[in-house]
């Protein structure tokens, strides 16, 4: 595939019917989170726009996002890869490897200069001149900058690319940063998550494939249709939260009955993602449904917000861990004690002042 065909062209080549093409367009409209009224636009885009060429780089990460991506159910990842985009370079999904493959990347970058979509998975290690993360014999940061130069747009796939990720956790020895810290001047979209929901990944890629541009983003640069709501505001356990029914422990009756996991450290109230409405593996489940609180894996800095099983972060105080309320109580108690002591001294001060005034002035009350 030379990346020039449209989706409709592809259907015709394979002798598929117009009817099935329209069905696919309808599905795409739904998956992209567009209103049904947008269907004609999707159809015409699918008829006209050439399929995008995608270059997929891997940096400082665990390739978990790939694992997630290949499990996309609607659309099937294989469909996306084979029919909807032209994935020219991906060092984990390709059969090819080695120097010829790296050479191919250079060719692709030259041939489709200014047109290809750059998907980046993983953070960018910048410490020690980037040598903590080497790809194809050079620092990843260099490879990334080179690839970004000719890209039409950049996708930051996963929390590592979007925010830095676990390897950027304090004290961040490798000095890993997000992709947008080293790449600028290109349209960039964040698809955070550790990993992101497969359908969200494919959804954004498809949006680009359909319309040739990135989907609308929120104030943090994430696609609105997928990261618009908090998990807490879309969570099916929310009625339990509102009624004050909380699991206290992972093995108590409340936990068995499926009550809200708020007190077990659920980060749903501050995490923006589609887990609550799209769920995972074609709507099969998501962490909260399987009984584990959200850890906020799509939020910036989630890796440093431990302890994951406490609502408030633990504050280490000399050999123990405490929280804001305990500290508040202790300091509040100290304040009350201090105030009482000060009050006692004030009483003394006043009586002294009085006797002093009696001596000096001889009479008038203070």
């Amino acid at each position: 595939m030379d990346g020039k065909d449209s989706l409709w062209g592809l259907f015709q080549q394979r002798g598929l019917s117009r009817r099935s093409f329209l069905k696919v367009c309808m599905t795409i409209t739904g998956i992209l989170g567009l209103s049904p009224a947008m269907l004609p636009k999707v159809v015409s885009a699918a008829e006209q726009n050439p399929l995008p060429v995608v270059v997929w780089l891997h940096g400082h990460e665990c390739t978990g996002c790939d694992e997630s991506f290949i499990r996309s159910q609607s659309p099937l990842a294989s469909d996306v890869l084979l029919n909807m985009i032209s994935l020219e370079y991906s060092d984990t999904l390709s059969a090819a490897a080695g120097e010829p493959f790296e050479h191919h990347l250079e060719e692709v970058m030259k041939r489709y200069e200014g047109k290809y979509l750059l998907a980046v998975e993983g953070g960018v290690s910048t410490g020690n001149e980037g040598t903590f993360c080497m790809v194809g014999g050079k620092p990843f940061v260099a490879a990334l900058k080179e690839a970004a130069r000719g890209a039409a747009a950049v996708l930051e796939i996963g929390s590592c690319a979007a925010w830095g990720g676990v390897q950027a956790a304090k004290p961040n020895p490798t000095n890993t940063v997000a992709v947008h810290t080293v790449v600028s001047g290109k349209p960039i979209i964040k698809i955070p998550g550790c990993p992101p929901i497969p359908e969200v990944l494919t959804g954004v890629v498809m949006h680009y494939a359909m319309f040739g541009q990135l989907p609308p983003v929120d104030s943090q640069g994430r696609p609105k249709q997928f990261y618009g709501n908090r998990i807490h505001d879309t969570c099916y356990r929310r009625p339990f939260f509102n009624s004050g029914m909380f699991a206290e422990q992972f093995d108590d009756a409340g936990s068995k009955a499926g009550w809200c996991l708020y007190k077990l450290g659920c980060r749903g109230p501050e995490t923006y993602n589609s887990c609550g409405n799209l769920r995972w593996w074609n709507g099969l489940s998501y962490p909260i449904q399987s009984g584990h609180g959200c850890i906020g894996c799509s939020s910036n800095g989630f890796w440093d917000n431990d302890h994951f099983y406490d609502r408030m972060p633990g504050i280490p105080v000399a050999k123990t861990i405490t929280n804001a309320d305990t500290i508040g109580l202790v300091v509040g108690g100290a304040a009350v004690a201090g105030v009482a002591a000060h009050g006692a001294l004030s009483v003394l001060q006043k009586s002294k002042r009085r006797s002093g005034e009696h001596e000096e002035v001889g009479g008038p009350k203070a």
Binding site: N242, S243, F246, G296, S299, G301, D325, L345, A366
Partner: protein
């Protein structure tokens, strides 16, 4: 009567006084409900179906409703504060950081509070307290913007979310915003403890009507206060007229 030879000074407008008590009520409400929201320490309506439990007893839903309602009342009450500020010089409590006099008075009060001096110069509005109110308003400001940042993002496309939503991004992530909101709430309570004590102490030490001034607006001072200039030389005639009244 100690007030026998004291002069009466009209300091606080009714707007400031109403605002003050609204603030007291809402902060107490916000703090107690906020503690529950941060850590639901007593059992809600367990044993019922959520459908019926939501409205039963003090559920999280009801706690949150009270919290949000109090938050709105608190925020809106600042209109009174601003109006009083505009109308009445006595309400303008911003410390005069740019004047040398201010620092002299501040030191004077500080020495008195640390028991080094037996009394401080008579003043209508204590310079140390005025500095602490700036701190309080700053904390309240943080509570309001972080609170609305969390609250408005329930509807991410609303105009409120457009204004306050970026706060979440500014402070790193929304979890941090929760934490800041929680800590600053405690700081405000610490302020309240000291504030109540200081007012009661001032009444005990000098009998100048510190506490009652928050109801009546007037203070009684036996000597000419050092900061009398702050509330007199204005154009507002109503203030000037009233401060002349003398009780005997």
């Amino acid at each position: 009567m100690e007030r026998g030879h004291s002069k009466q000074y009209y300091v606080f407008s009714p707007f400031l006084r109403i605002f003050h008590w609204l603030m007291v009520l809402s902060i107490v409400t916000l703090f107690t409900t906020g503690l529950y929201i941060g850590d639901p320490f007593f059992i809600g309506s367990q044993g019922l179906e959520p459908t019926y439990a939501v409205t039963g007893r003090l559920s999280m839903e009801i706690m949150r409703f009270i919290h949000f309602a109090a938050a709105y009342i608190f925020t809106v009450s600042f209109i009174l504060r601003a109006y009083g500020f505009w109308r009445n010089k006595g309400d303008r409590l911003f410390p005069h950081f740019w004047k040398k006099q201010y620092y002299e008075d501040l030191l004077d009060v500080f020495l008195h509070y640390t028991f080094i001096k037996s009394s401080h110069k008579p003043c209508l509005r204590n310079p140390l307290a005025r500095a602490s109110y700036v701190a309080l308003y700053f904390m309240v400001f943080i509570e309001i913007i972080t609170g609305f940042a969390m609250y408005t993002m329930i509807k991410p496309n609303s105009w409120g979310a457009k204004i306050y939503g970026p706060v979440n991004q500014l402070l790193g992530d929304e979890y941090t915003v929760h934490i800041i909101h929680h800590y600053v709430a405690w700081l405000i309570i610490l302020f309240a403890i000291v504030h109540v004590y200081m007012a009661a102490r001032a009444d005990f030490m000098d009998r100048e009507g510190e506490i009652s001034s928050m109801f009546s607006g007037v203070k009684f001072l036996p000597h000419e206060p050092v900061d009398i200039g702050d509330i007199t030389d204005g154009k507002d005639s109503s203030v000037r007229d009233r401060k002349h009244s003398i009780t005997g």
